[in-house]
Symmetry: D2
Subunit: 341 residues, 4 copies
């Protein structure tokens, strides 16, 4: 931490700061400056609260230096984390672009299998589908639950695609683990620490979506909850942040800037969900291409062949044809940007 | 819903919209206008997704009208909800201003009792204290758990003050209910729907804090999850929203505008937490006074007599003396603004 | 500036940083730490760009310390600035609460005089009224211009109230100075540096509204443009910031937290405009009271006796009766909170 | 406008609304609904203020329908606007991707010519360079002014590249028009209406940057100020919006979602500035590629060959080599995404 004294502080005020640092069992280094004296604090165990020092007389500002995460950072691990699925046939975080596709919600076996086959044919490597749906209103469709999980498992059987689905409640961990290949933590649960700890204790990859108002620092600290429990297979997924820009269609702004920032700070794979991030069909393909051009390790896209019948989020789903067209564009971009599809 | 057609739309496009409305089992009313034709949609059961219509050719915009909540709204209940505690001695939502005070976290029996007595003496009517603490980093103090709950119960015994404490996990519902008088749902769990449903099934008042990026609409829809399960005793608590304004001290902006807005739209009591909302001791008293002047039914304030020893959030706690001074100011404001303390 | 090295940086990387600091004509102080080495930079003239150092290999973060303002800060001047008007009869920034009131726009001589007399009678000390109106759409009413300024001057004559009005264009400086007592810089022009410099060259008090997305730091730096040109009489006015909360009524969130923050960092008077900040009549009085309870030196309120005829912002204006009621409440709060009205 | 009545409103309240609509010289259409009665308002001239109706008893909400712009919208003009420069050799808004490059600020003739030649060689079609610089602090470098304009003109002569530069003050319109090919309005001046009107009166293309907190609607309404004065050649440039995400490096979040949204709503060309939008060299190339993949008509990039000497924003400038590499990638993406470079 760096403590900056006010111009014109007294000697007594500086002594007060030094003794507060000592009280916090840390070491103070006084740095005289032209305008302001500063006090650098080192040797503390655990993060210090800046506010402990800012309230002292004569202090202008205290600036923290340590992160809330360690295992998630590049400093803990230089090499990119690559998560392996389906016996190594699908790898997330390496040089292959991973495309996850499927319906927003599992609605029926027929619907899910039909769409799963279409996305598999077009080149998706992982199937998505919600069995437990987090909905703003208690009166909206809440998902099929266990029946939905079983349908996902049979779609995996039919297509060979591993399956990702959301978990909402620590009490359903066993049942979701029985059927899913990747556990998704949704944006609304990014800081549901009880749930994070629970998925940290199993050996299943976890996809951690970014909270609507989470900074990159907080997102990595949430990943740290999972890593710290012993599960190293965490992938991150940007899905839009809350800003002043919004509409009845979508209340979030897809933040592609997160892609290069996460790649710099963390070794964990970073994916992008342009479907929930934009909420609008005609923005999905442009933003999917943009996510890949920005360097994402993968994208997750909603596909539905009868969007007008969808029980949730139909209007943001791509048709199978539009999805196949997008896959063609991404495949062509691969050699230019250095990835395979 | 109101669907606005583009200027110069064709007859066929309008017919397409009308047939889509019919497909959604609703009734369309065409409204010719000088610049734009509009189509009003009525008779739908459940909310319609605006995006179903916005993708149709010739449509400029679709504007939703229904809310995501019913029971939480003024339309469901004109009279203010008043929540009664301690056999009616404490009432939240009526003409009495309710002050909740105590340490951020329960750290020890000695600390909690000492502070509980101080705040009771100064006029607090409810004791706060965290036994399970949600922390951004897994390496920060996570609370005493069950031991903390027992300490709170003995502080209640010693002071007569009912107790509010946070619940993080649906699996600890029974144990928290055994010791607490009010269950607090924290900002990070505002849309943890598994937890909301669970607290909706018990007969304990719930304090639902506003999520960092929740609109008033979403907040009331979250309250609806609790109300819809049968628990009518929900109070709301504003604690700051995430905006571009932030600092190492506090990453939220206390939104006092929420007070008059909630009072207009909902019958549920609205409280304000200026301690977490500002994160800084010297802003707590000004913003507490401001919350009361804006019409809040109550405030929740952190008090600690040895903030430099506090295991969490010490720097935002008021001293017992500053708290007593604040209580005096609020008492004096009562007759002017029409409340009792 | 404080430069924090990555864990495991090399000696060569550290040497690179030291030589970059030297290149920037500043002095480097190496501070060894348990986890991270830091380099404190002192002796620089003018602010250093953090990004100069963050791009160097081995650097984790560079943290700036200097402010973008000097004259506006408490460090330059401990005592509060008090701005004197009307031969000292009105003082802004001292222990008297200053209430500014009047119509949003000057619409006619009759309307302005009528309202001016009503607000004077109720206790307003300064009259507001827009002659040049900044409007989002070019098709909205743009103000009466020079005719409006003359009406304001005659309202001053009739009531004795000094007058504040907005200036939009540096080319109208002379004419606005001829008629107004306080020059208002609106939120949209907070960083219109050409205009700021111009009003810095005259001897008229300036009211600088906060930009919709301005941090406190940027706001004070904008005030610095005026102060640096030689005009010491700057008052600040909070009028709402842009957040994810918004509606067709008001696209800003009144940020009362700015009041205690500005009072800590700056000696300039801080006022609040709850009319534009909330955009809604029934929120004006609660937020006006809250602003005063938070410690504002004054408030600016729109009053209109025939809001349905108002050419701009009628729906956010208080009636003269509601304004008088508010003044009564503020007067009663004075002795409790230590101000006179 | 659509006015939604509360459930259980009275007949008298409905009559009050109808008479208010009549008073506003518009026509009311009552639409009975299952839950709520609505009143559609048509035939009004000019936008109605929603708040006029929301304050009436029995009204739940009033929803506006009209835009603040007309000429800027797709409805006014279906075909894309293509702006022609340099006798038609450079066209902005068509199928060619336009790359604008150059230093942030004009620092000297030697520096500007050197960089201009480098970017021309790599494929830039327009030269950028600031002569008047808007700076947060009055103590930062403010640009060379007229001398800078002359240097830009001689760089144009040397390379054949048309020149874009920022205008800050309506009083410098003549002089900037004499030297520049495109007038840039910066983000801070997006709602400087005096300046917008002025550049609307000349026959020079204008690049209007998006304000830090401007919605798309407000941005297009600002463009409307220019169009309404008679200048049809307006291009838009996204450069980042203010959100809760920020750092000492960059206080904005580049919003690429604006690209497909603007293309849907407006016929004006849309460009992206990833240099100011990200503020950090290693994010510029990823976000530039992403902008193009999202469908932007062009990008504007800062290039500097000696960033450590740059008087402003050096750390976000690409080196000439990195710029040439980026141009190569964009050229290769052209055939896939359907544009030429």
């Amino acid at each position: 931490m760096l403590i900056v004294m006010e111009t014109g502080h007294t000697e007594e005020q500086l002594r007060g700061v030094l003794s507060a640092v000592e009280g916090a069992k840390a070491k103070a280094h006084v740095i005289p400056g032209a305008q302001n004296t500063a006090v650098a604090v080192t040797g503390n165990v655990g993060p210090l609260d800046v506010r402990l020092f800012e309230d002292l007389p004569g202090v202008r500002e205290a600036i923290p230096v340590s992160s809330a995460y360690r295992l998630a950072g590049r400093e803990a691990r230089r090499a990119d984390t690559v998560i392996s699925l389906a016996g190594g046939k699908v790898r997330i975080g390496g040089s292959a672009l991973v495309v996850i596709a499927g319906p927003c919600a599992v609605e029926s076996e027929e619907q899910t299998l039909r769409i799963a086959k279409q996305v598999a044919r077009a080149g998706a490597r992982i199937l998505r589908g919600g069995a437990f749906k987090p909905r703003t209103s208690p009166y909206s469709f809440q998902g099929l639950g266990l029946a939905g999980l079983k349908i996902l498992a049979s779609a995996r059987q039919a297509t060979g695609l591993p399956v990702v689905t959301e978990i909402l409640d620590p009490r359903s961990l066993d049942i979701v683990c029985e059927y899913a290949d990747i556990l998704q933590i949704g944006a609304r649960n990014m800081q549901n620490f009880a749930l994070l700890k629970e998925v940290g204790r199993v050996r299943k990859p976890v996809m951690l979506k970014r909270g609507f108002s989470a900074t990159i620092e907080e997102w990595l600290a949430a990943a740290e909850y999972i890593l710290a429990e012993g599960n190293p297979d965490v992938m991150l997924c940007e899905r839009g942040i809350r800003t002043f820009v919004g509409s009845a269609r979508a209340r979030t702004t897809l933040d592609l800037n997160a892609v290069p920032v996460v790649k710099r700070r963390s070794h964990l794979p970073i994916l992008v969900d342009p479907s929930h991030g934009t909420g609008m069909r005609d923005k999905v393909a442009p933003m999917a291409r943009a996510a890949v051009a920005a360097g994402a390790h993968g994208i997750m896209v909603e596909v539905h062949d009868r969007p007008e019948e969808a029980l949730s989020d139909g209007p943001q789903a791509l048709s199978p044809e539009a999805f196949a067209r997008l896959m063609g564009e991404l495949r062509a971009m691969g050699p230019i940007l250095g990835f395979t599809v």
